[in-house]
């Protein structure tokens, strides 16, 4: 390690490591320099100028996010003149921003609001022309509101650098700069995969999920409907954060109780259909292996990934499993198996999904997924929306008595729980496939090689002497990297898991906004959410999907066997190339 250097911050001497920025050094020393466009996962923009500091000898202020420390450097983070400049910058942003905080969705959760408040801005000085744009409501999932945009560029960088979808760009220039898709296309017609990561990183409300809470409240009051809800594994691992508690607490029981209090008649668990997915997908994989089917097989749970596939990798469509996502399987069964079981007309069932995901809103509306002409899932709400509903209904989530999910679509194994974390689907699939193939029970079921937040992970399993090579990617950018490898070397892997969001569903586009002392998609927070799901797995006696008694019952009563005709009708689908065609730049 290189020798430490001396820097001075506000006239105090410190020893720090060389080769880092002023901001990084200051963070470790307990100086949190205000910032806006900076995000540790994204490239340095240096655009907002909020993080400026004074460096003695420099003619102008420097952006601490970009400027490297040097030996003997004298830095001031809080001088009077600097504070004034920083404050003026925030004021200038506010002057071109709708002043409707009290009716804004991000009220109380907005980084700009927090900054303005910490700067002590109490008056306006430079008011003038404000930008005026219409909201883009065309997408099922993601709303774009350029009036709220402060041009920090995080969404553009997220969309191109991490997700590599390249849907968003800054168009025009100067005061007229706007973030938009190519040709100012409506989001709904663009290459947007609806992953919602732009929402996650937006400091304000320039991107939001399409909100269905009012619609849902209204329907919950309809006495003629049977209200059924399912919730994804990752929702329980993150929803506590929306109520101010530290990441990592599993809120499953509390959430079930709260959903019943909101008025749902049945609360099912998407983890059930995660187990079911494993039965179907695992069987499909084995069939491909045994009958020389198309390999590598790629998972199909992530809806953002499915749109990405159809636009960017249409040549790989045959490689993708025909399984619907767990949410859509659950929805299909709710409107068929479950409706029959309770003897009601499926049209009278309101099927709701509480998801960590924004793309599920898009998925639920896909025509290919209709069941007997009906949508399997009628309304999708995100973790954020459901937490707001819980608050709005005055339900005390943190102190509520935990409850159990309903049958027949509520029981789940530990394998279903870890679906929410990158690598989880693969791990769950291996637990079952191994046993289906070899007839033996896999002893060491925790596959460390495909756990963790590394972008692309690889592993090998020995199936009775047959080596199965697997790979896992999370975040569409990593997925693209992995798929480019597959295009070049189709023999390299047998089975691939892809999740559209960083970290998998735990980092979904619908998860609670970062807490005041944190940043969106903070790795530490993601790891804690992941740990909550791994703990849930470990705490269960049933840890393999095929051991789930409700799943076994379902096959006995309704589906008969994996990949059966009934299964195909309700649990499988197909994909096709989609326009507009997207382009993954060759340089990555």
């Amino acid at each position: 390690m290189a020798e430490q250097i001396t820097i001075y911050i506000n006239n105090k001497e410190y020893k720090v490591d060389p080769g880092q920025t002023i901001m990084q050094a200051a963070d470790k020393l307990g100086f949190h320099i205000p910032r806006l466009c900076y995000h540790p996962k994204l490239s340095i923009e240096g655009a907002c100028r909020v993080c400026i500091v004074e460096v003695e000898g420099a003619r102008n202020y420097v952006a601490s996010c970009a400027y490297p420390v040097a030996n003997g450097m004298k830095i001031h983070t809080n001088s009077q003149e600097l504070r004034q400049a920083r404050r003026d910058i925030i004021e200038l942003i506010l002057d071109n921003h709708p002043l409707d905080c009290h009716v804004c969705e991000r009220d109380g959760n907005c980084e700009l609001q927090r900054l303005a408040s910490s700067m002590g801005i109490r008056a306006r000085h430079f008011q003038g022309e404000r930008k005026v744009y219409d909201k883009d409501l065309s997408s099922e999932a993601v709303i774009r509101d350029p009036e709220k945009c402060i041009l920090c560029g995080r969404c553009v960088r997220m969309c191109s650098e991490i997700q590599q979808v390249h849907n968003l760009t800054q168009a025009h220039r100067g005061f007229d700069t706007v973030v938009m898709p190519a040709y100012d296309m409506p989001m709904g017609e663009s290459v947007c995969t609806a992953c919602g990561q732009c929402i996650n990183v937006c400091p304000t409300a320039a991107f939001l999920e399409k909100n269905y809470t009012q619609d849902l409240f209204q329907k919950l009051n309809d006495p003629n409907l049977i209200k059924v809800v399912q919730f994804a594994p990752s929702v329980r691992a993150a929803i506590g954060e929306a109520f101010g508690i530290e990441p990592g607490r599993n809120m499953e029981g509390e959430l079930i109780a709260a959903l019943r209090k909101l008025g749902f008649n049945y609360v099912f668990d998407t983890q059930f259909s995660a187990d079911l997915t494993i039965m179907e997908e695992g069987s499909e994989f084995l069939e491909r292996v045994q009958n020389n089917g198309k390999l590598p097989m790629i998972t199909s749970c992530s809806s953002a990934w499915m749109k990405c596939l159809e636009q960017f990798y249409p040549d790989l469509i045959e490689n993708v499993s025909t399984c619907k996502s767990p949410m859509s399987m659950q929805g299909a069964l709710t409107k068929s198996y479950f409706a029959q079981k309770i003897g009601v007309d499926p049209k009278k069932i309101l099927s709701v999904a509480a998801m960590c995901c924004t793309a599920k809103k898009y998925e639920a509306a896909r025509e290919e997924l209709l069941v007997d002409g009906m949508r399997g899932v009628d309304i999708v709400v995100t973790t954020r929306e459901i937490s707001w509903m819980i608050k709005s209904a005055g339900i005390d989530l943190l102190h509520i008595q935990p409850e159990e999910p309903d049958h027949p679509l509520g029981e789940s194994s530990g394998a279903g729980a870890i679906f929410g974390v990158t690598g989880g689907v693969m791990e769950a699939a291996i637990r079952t496939a191994y046993e289906l193939y070899t007839g033996q029970t896999l002893i060491d079921i925790e596959l460390e090689s495909i756990r963790g937040l590394k972008g692309i992970k690889e592993g090998k399993i020995d199936l009775d002497g047959k080596e199965i090579r697997v790979a896992v990617a999370h975040g569409l950018g990593n997925a693209c990297k992995l798929l480019d490898t597959v295009r070049k070397d189709p023999e390299r892997y047998h089975f691939i898991e892809i999740m559209g969001c960083p970290g998998g569903c735990i980092g979904g586009g619908g998860q609670p906004y970062a807490q005041a002392n944190s940043i969106p998609l903070d790795e530490g927070a993601l790891m804690k959410r992941a740990q909550a799901l791994y703990d849930l797995d470990r705490g269960k006696t049933i840890r393999r999907s095929h051991d789930n008694p409700d799943v076994q019952k379902l096959y006995k009563e309704f589906l008969h066997s994996p990949l059966s005709k009934v299964s195909h009708k309700y649990l499988h689908t197909h994909y096709k190339a989609k326009l507009p065609k997207g382009i993954i730049p060759k340089n990555g």
């Binding site: 907002c48 100028r49 003026d88 200038l92 430079f126 022309e129 220039r173 005061f175």
Partner: protein, 605 residues
């Protein structure tokens, strides 16, 4: 030199005619003149005459210009009707037509000596522009005849890269793009950087409104720029050079392309230059109308095919530039100085100029001055010398109010700064900047608030929109200035401008933002009273801010009705042959009545 070239068939030329092909001369029918001249020469069967078109010679007021060599006879304001006389008398009989020659003073005719014996000529000294006007820019032989590519030969045969850098450092040459960073130091940084390929870039994205030095240089002497770049490539170890030039300069682009072709053919450019193992080639990349691309990191992004937005530095381009590789960027004028530094030596070069600023500077002199055009003066020349001795003073008996240098990044210096010397530090101390070379003379008819507004309008329009201070701040400054010029200024507006301006200067990401407030801050500093008059008395002393004007019709009115007809607001009443009256409430102050009146009966106040 001749033996070094691949192709050497120098034609024997008796009379060489150079016709200025700058835009002003074209406007004044130089094209037509060219045809007439051609026809006349053919008609009279005159032998051994060649006609060349040159780039702008910088004497726009006297255009079209025709130079006859040898003898450096220069004809000005040439009309087609004069051609037969010139051809007959000068080319046939050998007697220059005295009544058409320009012999006004030192400015116009002295620098047309071939440069070997260049020395001070009056107040001007042509180093960068040494060949502009005396050679045919489309003929490499002409460039060779003025010791062209000799510097390159010297460098490749007698100097190591580090010797070249040492020579440039010794010369004291500083970047002519505006910031004035020592060129030799920049070269040294880039030479030291190790990271695979390296690049040399010529910044010809001249965007200052009112500045056209780079265009003039490339159009008049493209090879000089190329030679400078090749030498730079050798010095830092680059194999590739790029000229980033505005798409708005088609002639300059064409000349550069032609020059590059010729240089390649002669072995000055391409593989194994002059038979050595040094290879270097140059490519042209076009800008597309973005002023901010003059900033080096924005320029790099533009060459890379992206939006021309700057990024924070460090890393500097010398370390990580084009495609992430070490990159040396200099502007046209800087490159054009390099062959001179090499041939005449750093010592000689550094003998010109002031303590901190060496050599000469080219200015595009414009505005309210008699002689407009490109002038090149040694550093240390005073503003007064440029405006009065070279520029010929202010026309129409008006008084000088200010001199604006540095374009939208610069400042306005009032009369008391006339004796300021041209150098980086003196101009900065006076409150302006050297900039890339725009120099606008302003007389009492110009409103300083309006001028400040003009410049901020420009930078606001050209702001890339990346950083908050520049994107939002210049917009607010423009709004405040707009209301002041409309007579709607409020007390405290000046202080707001100062507060915003100071913040934008210190906090912006790139040079464009950091200098955008300069025209405003310098006019506030030097002409605060004008701002105050606008705000408090709703008065514009220059009579330029329309909203504060009132038009009246005086006794001279003969009732012709011209003003009434032209008035778009129907504000003028009056019977025929009787005095007309303007209804101030209806008047929109467009000034058309004032312009149309043949009897000077309309007055504005």
């Amino acid at each position: 030199m001749a033996d070094l070239r691949k192709d050497n068939n120098v034609k024997e030329v008796h009379y060489k005619l150079t016709l200025c092909d700058g835009p002003t001369c074209i406007h004044n029918q130089s094209k037509q003149l060219h045809q007439v001249l051609d026809a006349e020469i053919k008609n009279r069967g005159v032998q051994n005459v060649s006609i060349h078109l040159s780039g702008c010679l910088g004497m726009c007021k006297k255009g079209p210009i025709l130079i006859v060599n040898p003898g450096y006879t220069m004809y000005g304001n040439v009309k087609a009707a004069d051609i037969p006389e010139i051809v007959q008398s000068h080319l046939v009989e050998g007697k220059p037509v005295a009544r058409l020659t320009i012999i006004e003073d030192h400015l116009y005719n002295r620098f047309f000596r071939i440069f070997g014996d260049v020395d001070f000529f009056g107040k001007q000294m042509r180093i960068t522009l040494r060949n502009c006007g005396i050679i045919d820019p489309e003929n490499i032989d002409d460039y060779l005849s003025v010791r062209g590519y000799e510097a390159l030969a010297k460098v490749l045969t007698n100097m190591k890269p580090q010797d070249v850098i040492a020579e440039v450092k010794k010369s004291g040459l500083r970047g002519r793009g505006g910031a004035g960073f020592p060129t030799g130091l920049k070269w040294e940084f880039t030479a030291k950087a190790v990271n695979g390929d390296k690049y040399v870039i010529c910044n010809a994205d001249e965007g200052d409104p009112g500045a056209f030095m780079d265009r003039g240089t490339i159009e008049g002497d493209p090879h000089t720029v190329l030679e400078g770049m090749i030498i730079g490539g050798y010095a830092i170890g680059a194999k590739k050079g790029i000229v980033y030039i505005r798409a708005e300069y088609p002639l300059a682009i064409k000349r550069l392309e032609k020059a590059m072709d010729a240089a390649r053919q002669c072995g000055f450019l391409g593989k194994n230059i002059l038979g050595t193992d040094f290879s270097f080639d140059i490519e042209i990349r076009l800008g597309a109308g973005a002023f901010v691309c003059g900033e080096e990191t924005a320029l790099i992004h533009s060459i890379e095919g992206s939006r021309g937005m700057p990024r924070p530095r460090p890393p500097f381009p010398a370390v990580s530039g084009l495609f992430g590789k070490p990159t040396l960027i200099n502007n046209v004028e800087t490159w054009a100085n390099i062959p001179v530094v090499i041939l005449d030596g750093g010592d000689w070069f550094s003998s010109i100029g002031t303590e901190t600023s060496k050599g000469t500077k080219v200015f595009a002199l414009a505005g309210k001055v008699r002689n407009t055009g490109m002038v090149e003066v040694p550093m240390g020349t005073t503003l007064r010398e440029i405006v009065y001795d070279i520029g010929g003073g202010i026309p129409n008996g008006k008084k000088l109010k200010a001199i604006q240098t540095g374009g939208p990044s610069g400042g306005c210096l009032p009369e008391q700064y006339l004796d300021t010397q041209i150098d980086y530090e003196s101009l900065a101390k006076a409150g302006s900047i050297m900039g890339s070379g725009g120099m606008i003379v302003i007389d009492e008819d110009s409103c300083m608030v309006g001028l400040a507004k003009f410049f901020i309008e420009f930078t606001q329009d050209e702001s890339c929109g990346k950083c908050t201070p520049c994107r939002e701040g210049t917009k607010r400054m423009l709004e405040i200035l707009t209301r002041i010029t409309r007579g709607e200024g409020r007390p405290g507006d000046i202080e707001k401008l100062e507060r915003l301006g100071g913040m934008i200067k210190k906090s912006s990401l790139c040079g464009l933002g950091q200098s955008a407030p300069n025209p405003v801050l310098s006019t506030i500093k030097n002409f605060r009273a004008e701002y105050e008059e606008h705000i408090h008395q709703k008065k514009c002393r220059a009579g330029q801010c329309a909203a504060m004007l009132s038009y009246t019709i005086g006794e001279r009115c003969v009732g012709c009705g011209a003003c009434k007809r032209v008035c778009p607001a129907g504000a003028i009443e009056g019977a025929r042959k009787e005095k007309h009256v303007i209804d101030a409430a209806k008047c929109i102050r467009c000034g058309q009545c004032f312009d149309v009146c043949k009897f000077n009966a309309v007055s504005k106040a």
